[in-house]
Symmetry: C2
Subunit: 233 residues, 2 copies
DNA sequence: CCGGATCCGAATCGATACTG
DNA sequence: CAGTATCGATTCGGATCCGG
């Protein structure tokens, strides 16, 4: 498989050979949220051909980025190795960088649980959050419900089933009611970029408060924020 | 060209669509060193097909990552836009990450000026350098001669012509003689990873001091260092 | 359902040649 | 110097199929 080598002795080149193939980094992105089964990955990457998924998983294993872990009586999952997990800050930074180039969603663009989870984590401002009171936000995006639990400079994102029960194994860190429940469309991007204030967002029906104190949206906007200083030339 | 879209509304996805194509990030890596002409890029990426180079440059321009700048009477250069330059910390981090996976160079692996330059910048420890005296190192790798000028927490890498004159336009920051001149083979990787001390490296003929105070190699090793904690599983 | 493997047409890549 | 043009070799994408 080294046939497609770039022929350079360089760290960047090595990195790109490991995770530069098509789809590879998106697989890593989803695995950063947690271990996933083959089928979960396929669902999270709706447009990936199954042979490509299986090829990439093999390559990522050979590269020491991903590990295959059998579950007793329950199938198996793929998870990042410690080395693979070191990509987290890089993927988050790439997410922030790419955020600036995101336009509006195309007609076929899909939003997945893992991509929103990572989006929240890329947008999370630990420094800003540290000086704000803790808060639990429940965020509805289409059928997806996520809980963002902000406690000091720490963020934990969990997926909630539409009914309101966590699906992920392991209880949420604190069993408390959300301080704010709101629904968002793709326009939430404009809030996170600071283009829109929460109030404007509600006026334009980009956001809708379902329950809780609407003024908490201000805190949300301070906690989750991506500066997009430079526009594309 | 959006035909190969990943179909997700996500920052990471956007980023990968902009710079995830084959060769694209290596072009960015070379442009991070400075503006380059088409021919320079081709030389720096010896194995890139010329049609791919030209396609990528067009795509990177469309994406607002790269800009084409005509030079009066002297052809033209490609350079990163401000948005493209924001990739610098990401590329450096990727270089550090990939460094851990670098084995020994393959028989066909080439080392280029720009890749060494970026390698030095990825390995540069601003914090360590800040508490050490300034120093100028001239580093010979094959035919390539680079000058690493460390001043406090700042690093400037310039290419020197084999004879000893800077080729890059603009004089080096300070016109002073190097404190240390040494030659290195690919084994310098083991020094930068801390696998080898400078003394061991000299014993094993990985490094050879050409001129100057050999004990400065210790300072070099403290200044340029990449921790490779996690081994590939 | 889970975890893939296989097959095939379409698009991309790589190598070389060629041009303003 | 700065690319196009061409063409065979790969890879990707989409669909289907298979063993547990």
């Amino acid at each position: 498989m080294a046939s497609r080598s770039y022929g350079q002795y360089c760290g960047v080149t090595s990195a790109v050979e490991l995770i530069g193939e098509r789809w590879a980094l998106l697989i890593v992105r989803d695995l950063l949220v947690g271990p996933r089964r083959y089928t979960d990955l396929k669902q999270g990457l709706p447009k990936i051909p199954t042979n490509i998924l299986s090829t990439r998983l093999k390559e990522l294993q050979e590269g020491g980025v991903v590990r295959r872990v059998p579950l007793l009586h329950c199938g198996l999952v793929y998870e990042l190795t410690p080395y693979g997990r070191e990509l987290e800050p890089i993927v988050l930074a790439l997410g922030r960088w790419g955020f600036a180039a995101m336009g509006d969603p195309g007609p076929d663009d899909v939003v997945t649980v893992d991509s929103i989870t990572m989006a929240l984590r890329t947008a999370f401002r630990a420094d800003a959050a540290a000086s704000l009171p803790s808060a639990v936000y429940d965020l509805h995006v289409g059928d997806i419900v996520l809980r963002a639990d902000v406690d000091g400079d720490d963020l934990v994102v969990t997926q909630l089933a539409p009914a309101g029960r966590p699906t992920a194994p392991g209880a949420p860190r604190r069993a408390r009611e959300p301080d704010l429940v709101f629904a968002a469309g793709p326009g939430i991007r404009r809030v996170i970029s600071g283009e829109l204030t929460p109030t404007e967002a509600i006026d334009q029906e980009v956001l809708a408060v379902v329950d809780g104190d609407a003024t908490l949206l201000e805190r949300f906007a301070e906690t989750f924020f991506i500066e997009t200083a430079a526009a594309a030339a």
